[in-house]
């Protein structure tokens, strides 16, 4: 128990402060977003801001429990926790209740719990525990496949709950695999695929295929014109063409109508200001109207009068943008960047692969949420309903992120004891 006696002295304090700063900003922003003349007390438990304070308090308790837990527990019980979460994901499919189209909530009294939020944490643990084994090697196909299965299982279960946003978060673990030695080629190919997907939606597939043919023909001037190279180019052309043709099919037959609209709105192919485009349009108005220095605390009119939907959860960034202006948004982004860089530094100084992989999992998940959430509110990504870590309203996500972060804090504090 010596380990626990001076845990506070060995904990990475800047990260703890950044965490507290973000949750505080979140709480104040939620207060501003749902501010209501009838319930002016920020502690009013009937309002979201009052509840959020309760969630924060419970999160701190959970964090403390995590810090007091033996650090070997997380490695040892990683797979147990992982499978327990998978079970919960299956259970929610059967017993869960549907909230805004997603069957991803356990409803206990007036209080909802979303297992998918915790699945991100347990997937990180499982991945770390798996890659920690001496026999694993990213160059081995077996390691790759098992890693991908560990990531894909909860992702697929989440997708089955129609919670596309949370399911997409699991793709962030590719970043972890990359750090552990996965070739960059799949990542680059993935990026190219996304670009092709977007280009194909803008232009008709035939034109895109013709464009690629021209590009590849041009490539002939820069490479050795021998048979293998020509075969490679032809193969590349065939794969790209098939991909392009399949984009139309995927887009029209596999994506849900609301997802199609969201993508169309983002690409400017559809200006549906009353429907799917409404959120983004109103969100941009709210942020844009903040100006350089903002309208001041509680002076935001866009978010306060409910023009921005989901303003306390997924669109909480609007409130910051409207009331604190460019100064506020820059500071918030700065806080996140500081947090990420700190976490990278912490991850790199770990002695054990388990701790490092887990640390990168935390970074990947937080960074993915940060990127997609803010990009969506400022119109750079389609509307994907995932919260801004530590800031958005909601108990499940706050606790999940807290546990995730604090486990890493605990591992880091204990890193010197790892043999």
């Amino acid at each position: 128990m010596r380990e626990n006696q001076n845990i506070l002295s060995r904990i990475e304090l800047p990260v703890l402060f950044l965490y507290l700063a973000l949750t505080l900003i979140g709480w104040l922003s939620i207060y501003a977003a749902v501010f209501n003349e009838d319930h002016t007390s920020i502690f009013d438990i009937t309002q979201r801001y009052g509840k959020q304070l309760l969630w924060i308090g419970l999160a701190l308790v959970l964090g403390l429990i995590v810090l007091l837990t033996d650090s070997r527990f997380f490695n040892g019980f990683a797979f147990f926790i992982y499978f327990a979460t998978l079970l919960m994901l299956v259970a929610v499919l059967v017993f869960g209740s549907t909230v805004s189209g997603s069957k991803s909530w356990f409803q206990i009294g007036g209080f909802g719990l979303q297992p998918a939020e915790f699945a991100k944490f347990s997937t990180g643990l499982a991945l770390a525990a798996f890659l920690n084994r001496l026999e694993t090697d990213m160059h081995q196909t077996r390691t790759k496949i098992i890693s991908i299965i560990i990531i894909a299982l909860p992702a697929i279960l989440t997708l089955m709950q129609y919670d596309t946003g949370s399911a997409l978060v699991f793709s962030a673990f590719v970043l972890v695999l990359y750090r552990e030695g996965l070739s960059a080629i799949p990542l680059v190919l993935g990026l190219i695929a996304i670009v092709l997907f977007i280009v194909t939606l803008y232009f008709t597939p035939l034109y895109v295929i013709m464009g690629i043919a021209l590009l590849l023909a041009g490539a002939l001037f820069f490479i050795k014109r021998n048979l293998p190279n020509i075969i490679r180019l032809i193969a590349l052309f065939a794969v790209a063409s098939m991909f392009i043709v399949s984009v139309g099919y995927v887009f029209n037959n596999i994506l849900e109508p609301h997802q199609r609209t969201r993508i169309n709105v983002l690409l400017g192919l559809d200006e549906d200001l009353r429907g799917a485009g409404y959120n983004v349009h109103q969100s941009k108005i709210a942020i844009g109207s903040g100006g350089f220095s903002g309208k001041g605390f509680l002076q935001g009119t866009q978010t306060k009068f409910n023009f921005v939907p989901e303003q306390s959860t997924d669109f909480i960034f609007c409130t910051v943008g409207e009331e604190w202006g460019f100064i506020g948004t820059s500071i918030l982004i700065g806080l996140y960047l500081m947090l990420f860089l700190r976490l990278i530094r912490m991850a790199e100084r770990q002695r054990s692969t388990f701790s490092r992989v887990y640390g990168y999992s935390v970074i990947a998940v937080l960074f993915f949420h940060f990127t997609i959430n803010i990009a969506m509110t400022i119109g750079l990504a389609p509307v994907i309903g995932i919260p801004l870590p530590f800031v958005s309203y909601g108990g499940s996500s706050l606790w999940a992120f807290t546990i995730m972060l604090f486990v890493f804090l605990k591992l880091d504090a204990n890193r010197l004891n790892v043999l």
């Binding site: 750090r179 109207s289 409910n306 943008g321 409207e322 460019f326 960047l337 400022i378």
Partner: protein
């Protein structure tokens, strides 16, 4: 540490994170600092600029009696972009409109602007308002705005007062003050005094949420402006006289104009047929307006200022005055009359011969005035017939003929006095007194409006001077607000001595044994007048009469024109007589004459 061989990849990961953060900051800089359009959008989103309409100025008659006032009504406005209607049919039922009407209204609002409010349904009564407002919360994007409607305590003087309607595109382009759905004076005094009557709009800035609920005033109202009530207009009109005249003119086509000769204020201005001004108020305005516009009797035309008539015998005094002024005749000059066998113009009355000017006016002897007119044209001091006609033409302009007074109700016309140039053109330069002989008896090309005719009576009563006739005494509560031209005394340049001669002759039209209006003499005061029976190529003669009273110091000058009514003495003279009696004595002591006029009307076809 063997698993840590890829630790150089941390730099790439760090770079990716910093690039994303950088993109966000740049994007936010554009969104929040550079781009101003979102700030505007946010204002439109949450601030509702509620126009505070000023009360339109009211209109009073010369005795302080209210002629036009305002009554509360409500317009339903819509911001198309915010509008949410789940059940269109229920909404239509609530507003008592049908579905096609709903669609066209909504479409036109959307065409005007998706972001700015425009009138969806106008002029909802107080009763309907109370019922609708209770359910309006179901329909975000719709809200009420208080407006006023014009009301007329007496349904009179529609032509004079004019009407108020919604602005059209041309109005909005001409003056940026007007916004879609605003009201503007369309005719009459409402049009002429629009700028005084309309007042100044105020603006209340309200904050609203996405459900269209008002959340109080913006910044406690420091940017709000209060509406400024329009100015009241005080007329020279006597509402009682106007109403009485309109009653007498029922079933007759024509016009009555009464003027206060001392000031030029119009006491009554009647055009018949007329209409109830309340018809052109409220939601049925458009329908009623079209009905009036297409009615065969053309009730919308204000005949008192837009109708022109040959003055006939009422014009003879003017020739007499010009002749006396130029020395072409004197008060003792006599011309013989061969009655019906006179040439070139026969006489329609039988009387002793020869006559001097006094009796010639009283008897309305055509040959006398032909000779008088010829004497003007051949007067050596006027240097030839053509120059003489030019002089004569100028004198007619001095009498306020042939041009507009620029009075304060729109659509006044100039009438016509033919000029030397006109005849030179028509007769190729070869013409003389004989050619234009009709001018001697007020026929031919001469055309006068009833307003000009009444003003002639005022000029004669004033012995040569007049103020341009106008409706208004005072604008707003301050004095001396009238346009300067209405307070400028004009002169005909003819010696008052000659007017006195003509006046005395007109007195005998009432008082003399052979006067054409002797039957319409009023016991309480002495009146002077002149009948006219004007040949009308389109049908029966028009009946004209002009008069002023009291003779000693005229307080009312009046002209009556009744179309296709025959002799001036039969129809026009009694109308003038009764109206003068009412105005000067305050009562009617000849009910049988009134009864005759109310119960009979001229048959326009029978001779």
């Amino acid at each position: 540490m063997e698993g840590n061989k890829f630790n150089e990849r941390r730099q790439i990961i760090t770079l990716v994170i910093l690039v994303i953060g950088g993109i966000f900051v740049v994007r936010l800089f554009f969104l929040q600092v550079i781009n101003q359009s979102y700030k505007l959008s946010s204002q439109n989103n949450v601030l509702r600029f509620v126009t505070q309409y000023p009360a339109r100025g009211t209109i009073f008659d010369r005795n302080g009696e209210l002629m036009v006032y305002n009554e509360a009504a409500y317009d339903l406005l819509v911001v198309p972009r915010q509008a949410v209607i789940d059940d269109t049919l229920a909404f239509c039922k609530l507003l008592k409109i049908d579905l096609p009407s709903f669609r066209t209204r909504f479409e036109s609002a959307r065409k005007y602007s998706r972001y700015r409010p425009s009138v969806f349904l106008e002029q909802i009564s107080k009763e309907d308002y109370g019922y609708i407002i209770e359910k309006l919360y179901h329909y975000p994007g719709f809200f009420f705005q208080a407006r006023t409607l014009r009301k007329y305590p007496r349904p009179i003087a529609a032509h004079v007062l004019g009407d108020v309607g919604e602005v059209n595109n041309a109005d909005m382009e001409r003056d940026a003050v007007y916004k879609m759905g605003d009201y503007i004076g369309k005719s009459g005094l409402e049009k002429f005094y629009e700028k005084d009557l309309r007042g100044k709009k105020g603006m209340k800035i309200m904050m609203v949420d996405v459900h269209n609920r008002e959340k109080g005033s913006y910044r406690d109202g420091i940017y709000d402006t209060l509406p400024v009530t329009g100015k009241n207009i005080y007329l020279g009109m006597d509402a009682r006289l106007q109403e009485y005249g309109e009653r007498l003119m029922v079933n007759k086509t024509g016009s009555v104009v009464a003027i206060d000769p001392a000031t030029g204020e119009i006491l009554a201005l009647i055009s018949s047929p007329n209409y109830d001004p309340n018809l052109l108020v409220g939601r049925s305005r458009g329908k009623n307006f079209n009905e009036l516009l297409n009615a065969p009797q053309k009730p919308l035309i204000n005949r008192a200022i837009s109708g022109t008539y040959s003055p006939g015998s009422t014009f003879k005094m003017l020739n007499a005055l010009v002749a006396l002024e130029t020395g072409s005749i004197d008060e003792n000059t006599r011309f013989s009359c061969q009655g019906k066998s006179s040439t070139p113009i026969k006489c329609t009355h039988s009387h002793v011969t020869p006559l001097a000017v006094h009796q010639a006016i009283e008897q309305s002897c055509n040959p006398f005035f032909w000779n008088t007119f010829r004497n003007i044209l051949i007067n050596p001091s006027l240097k030839g017939q053509k120059n003489a006609l030019e002089y004569w033409h100028q004198k007619m302009l001095d009498f306020g003929l042939g041009h507009r007074f620029k009075t304060d109700i729109p659509f006044e016309v100039a009438g016509n006095i033919p000029s030397r140039d006109y005849y030179d053109k028509v007769y190729n330069g070869s013409w003389n007194a004989m050619t234009v002989r009709s001018l001697s008896i007020g026929q031919g090309e001469i055309l006068l409006t009833p307003l000009q005719l009444a003003n002639l009576a005022a000029i004669i009563g004033n012995e040569g001077t007049y103020y341009p006739p106008h409706m208004t005494r005072k604008i707003g509560e301050e004095n001396d607000t009238l346009p300067a031209r209405f307070t400028q005394k004009l002169s005909t340049g003819i010696d008052a001595r000659h007017f006195r001669l003509v006046k005395s002759a007109m007195l005998d039209v009432f008082e003399g044994g052979g006067g054409t209006a002797r039957r319409f003499k009023v016991a309480d005061f002495r009146a002077a007048g002149k009948t006219g029976t004007v040949q009308n190529p389109h049908g029966k003669d028009h009946s004209l009469f002009m008069a002023f009273a009291p003779y000693e110091q005229p307080k009312i000058a009046i002209a009556v024109v009744i179309e296709n009514a025959g002799f001036g003495s039969t129809w026009a003279a009694p109308v003038a007589s009764l109206m003068m009696e009412l105005y000067l004595t305050g009562e009617i002591k000849r009910p049988e004459m009134e009864k005759f006029l109310l119960e009979n009307y001229p048959d326009p076809v029978a001779p």
